[in-house]
Subunit: 155 residues, 2 copies
């Protein structure tokens, strides 16, 4: 049974504060880092390891937006089985440590707030904190996301 089967997916009414989820893992390599950077964040600390040595990061590091995108992929596929999918209205993002070639990332998420919509009875907002963690247990990203989640079906 896959976590993406509709019947496994959680509505707003299935969520509770303190509920936790954990995704599968993703290994990021130099080629991925450079390909993302070439397309979206062409700065030397993301595109060239030699130049990167003399920068803030002291070596090749992934774009923070790459870490965010990988986090999304992990949450969509295995991390957050929400009914209706993962639809973000926004959130707070922090990158306490860089993501580097060879890092193996996974995402640990926790529901911290649940607010049914007053104007739209079929949905609500869940605030979920997703920590992206590397193989050394270091948190490389903290995302506190406001997600739009449908209410439980009447059936």
């Amino acid at each position: 049974m896959s976590s993406s089967a509709p019947t496994d997916r959680l509505f707003l009414d299935d969520l509770y504060v303190g509920q936790r989820f954990r995704s599968a893992t993703h290994i990021i390599d130099e080629a991925q880092i450079k390909a993302f950077a070439a397309q979206f964040d062409p700065q030397p600390f993301h595109t060239d390891e030699e130049t990167a040595k003399d920068t803030f990061f002291k070596g090749l590091a992934a774009s923070g937006w790459h870490t965010a995108a990988i986090t999304m992929r992990l949450n969509v596929e295995t991390g957050l089985p929400l009914a209706g999918g993962i639809i973000g209205a926004g959130g707070e993002l922090n990158w306490p440590a860089p993501t580097c070639p060879g890092d193996m990332l996974h995402v640990e998420s926790e529901v911290v707030e649940i607010t049914p919509s007053r104007s739209k009875p079929d949905r609500g907002i869940a605030v979920i904190v997703s920590r992206t963690v590397n193989q050394r247990g270091e948190v490389v990203q903290i995302l506190k996301a406001k997600l739009v989640v449908p209410r439980g079906a009447a059936s």
Copy 2:
């Protein structure tokens, strides 16, 4: 003269609250939306226009992380000429409206806070709000970013 020439680039001491910047434009199309989604956000409202009609977005929409990545590209290349590049420690992200196929995006940024580091005299934090705007003047993303910016060179 390119805005990416090092001599044009701004140090923390060159910034002031209220300072504004505007990037060039980027046109997003269906192929870009689907390619990003296939890699990082494989949800039907980002990957298939038919299925997307019956979802929250009522049609194909770009992943918010794709809008964020395009915003970064625009800021890196033409939007924010910061010395040392654009290095984010984190920030607040909002997506008030979706980005759809055919949208032409640009970024309008404003410096809202400048804080020299107390512990590291060679740098500081600039808080810069970047609004990503489409061809109808609708704001599709607001990013309030904490950026690490080097202090002015002594020379």
